[in-house]
């Protein structure tokens, strides 16, 4: 469609193309499966249950369970989780179920252990609250250490970037006004057929962050399009293959389905800042992202995809072949999805303190100064920490009253002999709890607060933290 619109125009494309198939294959954490086990004899009202050591319980009736993709195995956390259980079941493998209960007159049994395959289940439905994000952030890390996030491994100081999503192949990008898809739309889901059952949670179509809620019979799905995944330091997830057929009902849809990667922009977001609103470094197109490198702050950095374009293409091609064969019939939605909603942040009745709320100006010195002068400043300013800065106010080191006392005892006079260069620091927008943990871990009593260019903004001390907590 994209080529046809470009070469022959929208009018011709509208006449020639009946359906455009789309596809995506990425980590979709808000996925899971509902299973019904049937009753045991004597029957049990399951209170707690595990499949392959993954907690799979939900507060429902006796033998219905929900396998959440991000629940992790108690024996192999961060490596095996609900996503893997779903994949194993779909692949026809045997899994182990353990369950416990308190026992009632109608459900007397208190514990149970058995093995199951998907054929033993009455229902095995994939039920995903939020799938198929229209587009997603490009993630970078400005900090000094490697971080492990749901956007995978991010090397320090912008040494790599990651992104997710199929760009121009994404279902929602091809029908951004939700003209053809809505509740009841039949879709490709996990290698089988499923349905859109509504807007996904956090659906935010206004700013091109739409999502879908979907369900489908997992017994007919394929492990190629439903794969358990493990993100080091974050947890487990499920990669879901999802494709939506878009009937070209009007010229407008011909034009919309001609959307190209170069026109789809997303934010470059700094994941090293552990806040809801993270700093951004401008925007980038999916064309640039797919090229393997992007430019951030004038520096070229390599970028990797977390979703698989290879399998996304396979999803859309498989869907196309099903439609050609007549084994997949298009449906019109029974209800449209909202097109004007936005995703709200959480209402919080208790605010948590941040570094910026307790930091105060740091008492500083330069490397040229003598210890005598620094000792004097410690007394007059009545502080325990002096931050060593250069002419631009950038952090060089730190000197404590203890360092000065020791220098006096040992007869040292040069600042260079006593200052510490390996300074543990804090950022202004960090939660205070994280910064205070860092102090405890390093067995120190103050952290200079610096910005991204290492300019000293202030200092926080253990006293500040305890004062705040004692309030």
């Amino acid at each position: 469609m994209k080529k046809l619109v470009e070469s022959s125009g929208v009018e011709v494309a509208f006449k020639e193309v009946d359906v455009v198939t789309t596809g995506t294959f990425g980590a979709m954490c808000s996925s899971g499966a509902v299973v019904n086990l049937g009753h045991s004899d004597p029957p049990i009202k399951i209170e707690k249950a595990w499949i392959n050591d993954v907690d799979v319980c939900h507060p429902g009736a006796a033998v219905d369970l929900f396998i959440g993709a991000t629940n992790m195995s108690e024996k192999l956390p961060f490596e095996y989780g609900g996503g893997h259980v779903i994949q194993d079941l779909v692949a026809g493998q045997e899994v182990e179920l353990r369950a416990t209960s308190y026992g009632t007159d109608c459900y007397p049994r208190t514990s149970l252990k058995t093995t199951l395959t998907k054929d033993d289940l009455n229902q095995f439905y994939l039920l995903n609250f939020r799938n198929c994000y229209q587009r997603y952030n490009c993630a970078v890390n400005s900090s000094d250490k490697t971080i492990y996030t749901y956007m995978s491994k991010l090397l320090p100081r912008f040494r790599n970037a990651t992104y997710s999503g199929a760009g121009e192949l994404n279902p929602l990008m091809n029908d951004p006004d939700y003209e053809t898809m809505g509740m009841g739309t039949r879709i490709f889901l996990g290698g089988g057929q499923g349905y859109i059952i509504g807007e996904g949670t956090q659906h935010s179509p206004k700013n091109l962050n739409g999502t879908l809620m979907v369900k489908g019979d997992a017994k007919r799905m394929s492990p190629e399009f439903l794969q358990g995944a493990a993100f080091t330091g974050y947890g487990t997830s499920l990669y879901v293959g999802l494709g939506v057929p878009i009937p070209i009902l009007n010229e407008g849809l011909a034009k919309k389905t001609a959307v190209q990667d170069k026109d789809i922009l997303t934010d470059i977001v700094d994941y090293s800042v552990p806040r809801r609103d993270r700093p951004k470094f401008g925007q980038v197109s999916y064309k640039e992202l797919k090229s393997g490198s992007i430019t951030v702050n004038g520096k070229k950095i390599r970028v990797s995809s977390l979703s698989s374009l290879k399998i996304a293409k396979k999803v859309s091609q498989t869907l196309k072949s099903w439609i050609d064969e007549g084994t997949f019939l298009l449906t019109s939605p029974v209800e449209r999805l909202p097109t004007n909603t936005a995703f709200k942040p959480m209402r919080q009745t208790e605010e948590i303190p941040f570094v910026v709320s307790v930091m105060h100006p740091a008492v500083t010195c330069t490397e040229k100064e003598e210890i005598q002068a620094i000792a004097k400043r410690i007394v007059t300013k009545s502080v325990n920490h002096i931050v060593v800065v250069d002419e631009a106010g950038k952090l060089i080191g730190i000197v404590t009253s203890w360092d000065v006392t020791r220098a006096m005892a040992e007869g040292k006079t040069a600042l260079a002999d006593i200052e510490s260069h390996n300074v543990v620091t804090a950022k202004p927008d960090e939660p205070l709890e994280i910064a205070s943990k860092r102090m405890a871990q390093n067995n120190i009593s103050a952290l200079p607060v610096i910005d991204i260019e290492r300019k000293v903004l202030g200092i926080i001390t253990a006293e500040d933290v305890s004062k705040l907590l004692g309030r």
Partner: protein
């Protein structure tokens, strides 16, 4: 060229063993990565094929363990070609083919001393092979 992984014990790190061998055998040895501290360490180096055997033996005679490592193992059944690993690789050993399949170039890969991609693979398809070196007689004597 062949890749060799040279492992030093705590009591070997202070000796200039690698330099001695380079000089003695006139080996143009390219060091691809090195992690050494006072407790020991390893060097991944490239050595010309024709002199490989001599160099390996020379290290082993000095009590140093040498392996010709099988570096990184990729399970192509598990890999779903997301490509998370690509931008992490310092030697650009991973690339995407025309059909969007992610490919590993075993020749370029510097292997288990790097392993930066291993814990970033959501499919857990990449394994770093910590190969057991062939026990060499010198080490055995020392232990007993």
């Amino acid at each position: 060229m062949a890749r060799i992984l040279i492992r030093f014990d705590e009591d070997q790190v202070s000796e200039p063993i690698a330099s001695q061998i380079i000089i003695e055998y006139k080996v143009p040895m390219a060091i691809l990565s090195a992690h050494i501290n006072s407790k020991g360490g390893e060097i991944l180096a490239e050595v010309p094929d024709d002199i490989l055997e001599k160099v390996v033996n020379a290290f082993r005679q000095r009590g140093v363990s040498v392996t010709v490592p099988k570096l990184i193992e990729v399970d192509s059944d598990k890999c779903f070609s997301c490509g998370s690993c690509i931008a992490l690789c310092p030697v650009e050993a991973i690339s995407v083919a025309k059909d969007s399949t992610v490919q590993f170039d075993k020749e370029k890969c510097v292997g288990s001393t790097c392993s930066v991609c291993v814990d970033a693979c959501p499919a857990r398809a990449i394994k770093s092979i910590k190969q057991n070196s062939l026990e060499n007689p010198a080490n055995r004597k020392k232990k007993s």
